[in-house]
Symmetry: C2
Subunit: 470 residues, 2 copies
C-alpha cells in the first residue's frame, strides 16, 4: 500500500510547516528507537528508551564498560542532562548503593529514564519562538512532571530575579499598586490542580491524520498544582472603578506578551500564581509569576506576569486579532473564543506503539474540559459504532485532566480505538466530521485553533498502532 500523501490539501505556504513538524517528530522517534535498539529486553509496546541496556554483558563487565568504554560514551549521550551515571551492579543487594547527597540535595531522574519534550524546528519557528510537546504516551496519572510541562514561547525564556520582579495593577482602579513577590506572598493563597492546553494543540489533525504519536498530536497539554493569590483578593485591594470590564495582562518576556481578559473571568477563578507542583513555578512556565485562567487558552495564562491594566474594553492586541482567532467555513473569524472545550485522547495504546499480541490491555488516557468537571468518558474499540463507559481516576477535579481506564481484551483483529469526553455541562466531544461541519477547513491548516475532535488510533492485526481519521 502506498504511503498517503500527508501534505495533500495544504497550500504552498503551509506545506513546509506541516512537513517540518512531521520531520521533527520523525527525528524524535528515531532518537527513541535508537535508544531502544540498545536494549536487550524490549518492552515492545512501550516506545520508552528507559528500557535500554548499555551492554549485553552482565556484572562487573557492565560496570567497567559504563565507566570506560564505548558504552560509557553512548550512555553519556543518551542520559538525561545533568544525570550522574552510576554503575549498574549485577546484583544490587551485593554492592553498597549510592551515597546520599551530603547536603541532602535536589534529586533527579534515574539514568534509565530519558523521556523528553520535543521541539519542532520548522520554517515558522526559531529557537526563541517555538513550542515543545509533552510525552503523554509516557505519562502516568494526572500530574505532569514540571520538567516535562509543554512550552510555548514567543521570544525566549525570560530570566528574572524574583527580588527585582513586581506586579503593577493600574488603569480603572481606585488605588494603583505595585506588588513585590514578598508582598504577594503575604496575601491568602489558594492551590488548585488545573490543566493548561495551548489553543493550537492538535492543529495538524484537521485535514489529515498527520503526526504519528500522541506526543505530536496532543502534547501541548499539561497539568500542575498551581498556588497563588486569587485575583479577586487583589481586586478588593486596588478597588475596581465603575465600568471596569476588561483587564490587559502583560508578561515581562522579550515578546511582551499581552492579552485582554474579561474581568468576570479573573474575578471568578483567576490566580496570580507563584507555585507549581509544590515549589516555585519553573522558568519555562513564567517564573516567578504566572496568570492562571483555568480552562482558557494556554496563551492567556500570561507568563512572567508584570502588569494588569483594568479597562472598560478589550485592547485588541496582536495575539487576539492576527492570532488566536478562529476562521470559520464562511470566511469570517470568531474572536475571543477563550474556553477550551471538552476533549480526550487515549495515551495507551497510541501511535507508533506495537502491541505484542492478542490479550488483555488496559486502555488509558486523559479527558478534560475548560467548562468544569469531566462527567464521563466513553471508549470505543470499533471506530465509534459502540461505546462503553471508562473508569475515572478519583478525585475528578474541576478544569483538570482526568485519567480514564478501560479494560480491553484484544482478539487480534484490526480495531480502531476512540475516546469521547462528556463534561458536566452535558457537552459531548464531537467527531471530526461534526467539528468540521461547524468550523470548516478554510484556513491553511483547517481552522487552526480549538481542535477538540475525537482521536482515532488504528490497531493493525500485527499490533502496530497508527493515527487515522475514522
Amino acid at each position: 500500500m502506498a504511503e498517503p500523501d500527508l501534505l495533500a490539501g495544504y497550500d504552498e505556504e503551509t506545506r513546509p510547516i506541516i512537513a517540518g513538524m512531521i520531520a521533527a517528530e520523525q527525528r524524535a522517534l528515531a532518537a527513541r528507537k535508537a535508544a531502544l535498539e540498545d536494549c536487550e529486553c524490549r518492552e515492545g509496546m512501550f516506545p520508552n528508551p528507559g528500557r535500554r541496556r548499555v551492554l549485553v554483558a552482565a556484572g562487573s563487565a557492565v560496570a567497567a564498560a559504563m565507566l570506560g568504554g564505548a558504552g560509557a560514551a553512548w550512555a553519556q549521550a543518551k542520559a538525561p542532562a545533568g544525570a550522574v551515571l552510576r554503575e549498574v551492579p549485577a546484583d544490587p543487594t551485593k554492592e553498597q548503593g549510592a551515597p546520599i547527597a551530603e547536603d541532602g540535595g535536589y534529586g533527579s531522574r534515574s539514568q534509565f529514564e530519558t523521556a523528553t519534550r520535543w521541539r519542532p524546528n520548522i520554517p515558522a519557528t526559531t529557537p526563541f519562538s517555538s513550542w515543545t510537546m509533552s510525552p503523554l504516551d509516557q505519562s502516568y496519572g494526572v500530574v505532569t512532571p514540571s520538567g516535562l510541562h509543554f512550552e510555548r514561547h514567543h521570544n525566549g525564556i525570560a530570566t528574572i530575579d524574583p527580588a527585582r520582579h513586581f506586579l503593577f495593577i493600574h488603569g480603572m482602579v481606585e488605588r494603583p499598586k505595585k506588588y513585590s513577590m514578598a508582598d504577594l506572598k503575604r496575601f491568602p493563597s489558594a492551590s488548585r490542580m488545573h490543566f493548561i492546553e495551548c489553543a493550537g494543540n492538535t492543529l495538524t489533525e484537521w485535514k489529515q491524520p498527520t503526526l504519528k504519536t500522541v506526543q505530536g498530536t496532543h502534547g501541548l497539554l499539561s497539568t500542575s498544582e498551581w498556588t497563588g493569590v486569587p485575583f479577586a483578593t487583589l481586586a478588593r485591594e486596588v478597588g475596581l472603578q465603575p465600568g471596569a470590564a476588561w483587564v490587559l495582562a502583560e508578561g515581562s518576556d522579550a515578546a511582551v506578551m499581552t492579552r485582554s481578559i474579561p474581568l468576570d473571568k479573573l474575578l471568578t477563578d483567576g490566580l496570580i500564581a507563584y507555585g507549581q507542583n509544590g515549589e516555585a513555578i519553573r522558568p519555562e512556565q513564567g517564573y516567578p509569576l504566572r496568570l492562571i485562567l483555568p480552562g482558557w487558552q494556554g496563551n492567556m495564562h500570561i507568563k512572567w506576569l508584570r502588569r494588569l491594566e483594568v479597562s472598560d474594553k478589550p485592547y485588541m492586541t496582536r495575539e487576539e486579532t492576527s492570532k488566536y482567532t478562529d476562521l470559520m467555513g464562511n470566511g469570517k473569524a470568531r474572536q475571543f473564543t477563550f474556553v477550551m472545550d471538552a476533549k480526550s485522547v487515549i495515551t495507551f495504546p497510541s501511535g507508533e506503539m506495537k502491541l505484542p499480541g492478542p490479550g488483555f490491555y488496559e486502555v488509558t488516557g486523559l479527558a478534560w474540559s475548560g467548562h468544569g468537571r469531566v462527567a464521563r468518558v466513553e471508549v470505543s474499540t470499533d471506530a465509534g459504532k459502540s461505546w462503553s463507559l471508562a473508569a475515572l481516576q478519583e478525585p475528578v477535579q474541576p478544569i483538570c485532566t482526568t485519567r480514564f481506564r478501560f479494560p480491553w481484551f484484544w482478539d487480534g483483529q484490526p480495531a480502531v480505538l476512540q475516546s469521547r469526553c462528556v463534561d458536566e455541562t452535558g457537552y459531548i466531544q464531537p467527531t471530526l466530521k461534526e467539528l468540521v461541519a461547524i468550523r470548516g477547513l478554510a484556513g491553511p491548516f483547517g481552522s487552526i485553533y480549538h481542535f477538540n475532535a475525537i482521536q482515532s488510533w488504528a490497531v493493525a492485526a500485527d499490533g502496530s498502532v497508527s493515527n487515522v481519521h475514522a
Copy 2:
C-alpha cells in the same frame, strides 16, 4: 535569658546523636542565611535563598559580572546542581530570552531557587545509612516536588536497570510468579495521591523542643501521586492459599530491607507502584518499583521491591523487632504499630522565620492521617486556650496531606501558634502531655517512633518564631 540546655534529659549515648542533629540543622540554616546575606531585597519572613541577589549593581554590569567576576563563582557555588546560570538582564523585555532546548529537554528549577533537603551527619549515620528532610517551610499546596521528597536509606541508593528487574510472588500461593516491569505494566493500574511519613518523624521533640525549623522537626513527610498495580489484582493471579495471612516484602537494595505486612492491608489498598508524580519513580524512592502501603510507616513502603512471600505468620525481621517498635512507659514495647495517626504542623510561620511586623498573615500548614481523610483542622494562636477552624484545600483526599489555611491578624504581642488535626474516625491529634501520658519517655529519645503531638511555634514580640513546648 540563658539558652536552655537542649541535651538535658538524654543519656550519654543519645546526647551526641541529638547534638549531631542540632549541628546538622545549624549548618543547613547557616548555608541558607549566607545565601540571604547576598540579597539586596530580603523577604525577611521567608528564610528562602531564592531571594538572593548576586550583585547590587543593575543592568549589564550584573550580566557581565555573573559571567566573569566573583559573582559568577559565588553564584556557581550556590546554584542548584546542574542548573544553567543565565545572565539576568535589567529589563527582560529588552533582551531576547533563553532559547528553547533543541531536543525539547527536561526542565530544571530557576537558578534563584535553591531549597534542598538536608542530611544529618551524626554518630548513628553514614552517607549510606541516613535520611534527608524535606523543606516543608518552602512548600506550596500538597504535592512534594519529586526532587525534594524525603529519603531514608539503610545501605545506599540502589542503581537498578528496569530491564533486569523482576518481582517474585511466592510462598503460600497456588501459582508462584515472576513479573518483569513490562509484565506489571500490562495489568490494570491505579493512581492515588498519598503521603508517606517516616515512623521516626519528629523523634527529637519528645523531651525538648530540639530542632529549630519545621524541616528539622517534621521533614520526614512527603506527598506524591503514586501509580501502579493494586496488590489485590496480583493476588488473584497467583491465588492465595488457605491460611495465608502475612506477606514478607523485600527490597533489592544492599540492606535487603524486609518487613512483614498483614495480607488484609495489602488486599485493601496496597499498590505495587512504578509511577510517581506523572513519571517513573525516582531512584531515591525505589526505582523502578516500590510498595505503597497508604498511611502506614514509611519504612514498610519497601523500595526497590523484588519479592513478596506469602505466609501464615509474620517473619520477625530486624526492622520489626530491634527497630520500629514503640517502647512504652512501663518498659514494655508495642510491636506492629503500623498506622501513622492523625497529625498536623504549621509550616508558615515556623521556626527561624521572622515576621516583619504586626499585621495580616495567612497561617498555613499540612494535616494528615493514616486512617483516612482529614475531617477538620483547628488553629490556636494562644497556646491552645482557644481554637478556630482552618480552611482546607479541596479536594481533601484520603490518606493524603491536606493543606490548611487560617487568616491571622498579629497584634505584635507574643503568641503561640498551634494546629490540631481531627480525622474522619473522630481521632483528635493529642497534646504533648496527652501523648507522653500514654507513651512515656522511657526510651533514649522518649518513645522514638510515632510522635504525633501538637507542635507549638512561639512568635516573640520582635516577630521571631521558635520551637517551644507549650
